[in-house]
């Protein structure tokens, strides 16, 4: 049935509609939860379960078709291009939050602090908070969040974050080493490299959890601690979510490697996971420099 040199076109896809229903139920449930309705959490579980089921049967179909030899080189190029443009869209998602950080630090906060050279004093400073001085990190003139006095301690770069930087950079090396193993059909190198990468990935997430716990319990630093807390937790939180997704992605690739799904010339899933992993790695470097360090 597999005609070599032919572009495979699937028929009768049931996965997407299941995914749409799942997403709808999940988000409607989340909305209900936020509005204080009791039915919200139940809907969220059902929706999330439906989405996980959808992903399972969707990926299963792709794996079946791939192993069945239905995909020619051109199909693989489509997958690769699709993954690259998906990662590009993710980059822009993070750009929105980095943009919020730069805007507040470089424009909004100086204006709030009364610093507008050449054009006089900003009226917000003049009329609302004329004693506010712009010193980063800050939770704003209203001292939003923090401990009882509205104080908080910022996250230092050279503790856990520096260790996490090393962990992610090392994981970038191990995943590349695994790829080299795969390319020369060295299964042992592939599996050890992948297993190390997965361990490092989940280790990162664990340490991030320790850091968050410290922030909440001892430093007065929460999501609600003004603009510093908002940008800190939203940027590192979305990044941590992406690391978790990437680590699960790599774990699946590891399981598939153990089952012998990949060969040196057919391993799109491995490459996609590795690209995704490098993407979360690069985002982390931006976070380390602009959120923790500077």
């Amino acid at each position: 049935m597999a005609l070599h040199g032919s572009y495979f076109l699937p028929h009768k896809a049931t996965q997407p509609i299941i995914g749409s229903i799942g997403l709808f139920v999940l988000l409607a449930g989340f909305s209900n939860y936020l509005n204080g309705s009791d039915i919200g959490p139940t809907m969220m579980w059902v929706g999330a379960g439906t989405i996980i089921y959808m992903m399972f049967i969707w990926f299963a179909a792709i794996i079946r078709e791939s192993i069945g030899g239905l995909y020619n080189h051109q199909v693989e190029i489509s997958f690769k291009m699709g993954m690259i443009w998906f990662i590009t869209s993710e980059v822009f998602f993070f750009a929105a939050f980095f943009g919020a950080l730069y805007y507040c630090r470089d424009l909004a906060l100086p204006w709030l602090g009364g610093d507008t050279p050449g054009t006089g004093v900003h009226s917000t400073h003049q009329f609302l908070w004329d004693t506010f001085k712009n010193v980063w990190p800050t939770n704003g003139p209203g001292h939003i969040g923090g401990n009882e006095e509205g104080e908080f301690e910022p996250m230092a770069a050279w503790g856990i974050p520096a260790i996490n930087t090393l962990i992610l950079l090392t994981s970038g090396v191990t995943v590349t080493w695994a790829h080299w193993g795969l390319l020369k059909d060295n299964r042992r190198q592939l599996i050890i490299g992948l297993a190390l990468t997965v361990l490092l990935g989940f280790g990162f997430v664990f340490l991030q959890g320790v850091e968050y716990h410290e922030a909440y319990s001892e430093m007065g630093l929460t999501l609600g601690t003004g603009i510093y807390g908002s940008t800190f937790f939203m940027l590192t939180g979305f990044h941590g979510l992406h690391v978790t997704i990437g680590a699960i992605f790599l774990l699946i690739v590891l399981i598939r490697s153990l089952r012998g799904h990949f060969s040196s010339h057919n391993h799109f899933a491995f490459e996609a996971a590795a690209w995704y992993w490098h993407f979360v790695d690069v985002v982390w470097l931006g976070l380390f420099i602009f959120v923790y360090w500077l």
Binding site: Y7, A13, I17, M81, W85, F93, F97, T119, G140
Partner: protein
């Protein structure tokens, strides 16, 4: 590059039977039809909301609705028309036409294509359902500016998540379109031989991938500001409500080009066919489209001249915005030059295309007026801006879409539409759209604010005309629905493969039979 196609079920080369065909289909033509029909339904829903607005504004004083509901109508009308009507119509045209135009058997990622579409009805359901929630639907305008939008009642999280679902849908569709265009072209179909419609969609898809995630991020910040105590848009916490405006318009300005670039493509297909000449300045059209796409990313704050920006910002955004007139002018002159000394006939698609060139240019000029920041202080948030963007989006984008539907409907259905009815539809629409929106320029210049359900007495006459125009426009579209559904249900003369005289020289799609078979280009054509 491209090679022949195989299917996972070899006994079934036609469409599946029953309603489930439409739910599980992976066929680009089926999905195109689903997009187009959804778009038409949402066009009617959004249009009904516009008529509520115009009925209320027919005369001074409060008539039918309370101010809160009026504001919900302006908000939902815009969201539905942008995300429910115009973008799905373009996605539908892309699905139908791009594979046929580049000689590909289907879209590159057919399952994903199904999902891109099937997210839409759920997003639409979620958005429309907010009308019936406690506190009413979002009423802060489609831009959803804080702090006003944070006062929305139970509808708030539903509105935010609607944006997220629409974003996922758009991003997946954009990925699919880029991959199809870059990876699925027939042998010989080089990039610089692609029809302009394909080119404009390629650039539109790049824009979508860059902007939809930013919008998703911005509304996520709204959500966390309301429910999780963040301070992104709260000055007391060190944030800034204007930050939202920057994020929104970084999305919003390229977004309005998402709504117009494929229109440029459609018009660039129609005008050469009915002028019986090749498109004038093809490569300059490609470069102009790319330039417009690039410029769209660096002009966003011209939507925010009155909010308070450093003078350097006002100057920069003024000059950068004016630059857009250059590539846009290139396009307008190229369309006119294509018609110059052509053997022109005026079938319906051509009428819509010519009306597009004239009326879009008018809307472009008012845009140029507003790009000048000191002058914009007068125009900002008045009916002048309402007139401007309806000229570019209704007599621009919507006219191009309707023209495109007339142009390709015989190819899709195998039937010619009723030309006399179509001409009636065109003239009623074109006259009424001007009656509706032209007076709004004067209302705006005289100082009538937008998004207010009542107005001072001196604005009465122009508003009455505008409302009459709106109602004629709205009901004229029923003719369009009738024409389309007549063809879809197999009435009317049979269309030839070429459909229009000489059209096969202007596009691969017109070398196929009409109606186009369920699967086309399973063996790719050779393009010379």
């Amino acid at each position: 590059m491209s090679v022949s196609a195989i299917h996972d079920d070899h006994h079934d080369h036609g469409p599946a039977k029953g309603l489930m065909r439409w739910v599980t289909t992976t066929n680009h033509k089926d999905i195109g039809t689903l997009y187009m029909v959804t778009s038409l339904i949402m066009f009617m829903v959004g249009g009904a909301m516009a008529l509520v607005i115009r009925a209320e504004l027919f005369e001074p004083g409060m008539q039918f609705v309370d101010p809160m509901f009026f504001n919900s109508m302006t908000t939902l009308h815009a969201l539905i028309m942008v995300f429910g009507a115009v973008m799905p119509a373009f996605a539908g045209l892309a699905n139908w036409m791009i594979p046929m135009m580049i000689g590909s058997p289907d879209m590159a990622l057919p399952r994903l294509n199904n999902w891109s579409f099937w997210l839409l009805p759920f997003a639409a359901l979620m958005l429309v359902s907010t009308l019936f929630m406690e506190g009413g639907a979002a009423a802060a305008g489609w831009t959803l500016y804080p702090p006003l939008v944070l006062q929305t009642g139970a509808a708030f999280p539903f509105t935010i998540f609607t944006i997220h679902i629409l974003g996922v849908s758009s991003i997946l569709a954009a990925i699919n379109i880029i991959v199809t265009i870059l990876n699925m072209r027939a042998p010989g179909m080089t990039l610089m031989k692609m029809p302009l419609f394909v080119w404009t969609w390629l650039i539109t898809a790049f824009l979508l991938i860059a902007i939809m995630p930013v919008f998703a991020g911005a509304v996520t910040m709204l959500l966390t500001d309301k429910f999780f105590g963040t301070s992104f848009f709260n000055a007391a916490g060190g944030g800034d409500p204007v930050l939202y405006q920057h994020l929104f318009w970084f999305f919003g300005h390229p977004e309005v080009y998402v709504l117009i670039l494929p229109s440029f493509g459609i018009v660039s297909q129609i005008i050469p066919t009915f002028s019986r000449k090749p498109l004038f300045g093809y490569s300059s059209m490609v470069y102009a489209t790319a330039s417009i796409g690039f410029l769209s990313f660096i002009v966003w704050a011209h939507h925010q001249y009155t909010v308070g920006m450093p003078i350097e910002g006002e100057l920069y955004f003024t000059y950068a915005t004016m630059l857009i007139a250059v590539p846009t002018g290139v396009k307008v002159f190229n369309w006119i030059s294509t018609m110059w000394k052509g053997a022109i006939t005026f079938e319906s698609p051509m009428l819509w295309a010519i009306a597009f060139v004239v009326l879009f240019t008018l809307g472009g000029f008012t845009g140029l007026m507003m790009s000048i920041s000191p002058a914009d202080l007068q125009y900002h948030d008045t009916y002048f801006i309402v007139a401007h963007f309806h000229y570019v989006l209704v007599s621009g984008a919507v006219f191009a879409i309707i023209g495109g539907v007339y142009y390709w409907l015989p190819k899709w259905t195998g039937r010619m539409y009723d030309e006399r009815l179509a001409q009636l539809h065109f003239w009623l629409t074109t006259l009424s759209v001007n009656l509706c929106f032209f007076p709004q320029h004067f209302l705006g210049l005289a100082g009538m604010p937008r998004r207010i359900p009542d107005y001072a007495l001196q604005f009465a006459e122009f508003n009455a005309w505008s409302s009459v125009g709106a109602f004629i426009f709205g009901f004229s579209q029923l003719i369009f629905c009738y024409i389309v559904f007549r063809c879809m249900s197999g009435h009317g003369e049979h269309a030839s493969g070429e459909v229009w005289e000489g059209a096969s020289e202007h596009g691969l799609e017109f070398t196929l039979p009409s109606p186009a078979p369920y699967h086309t280009w399973e063996t790719p054509p050779n393009v010379h």
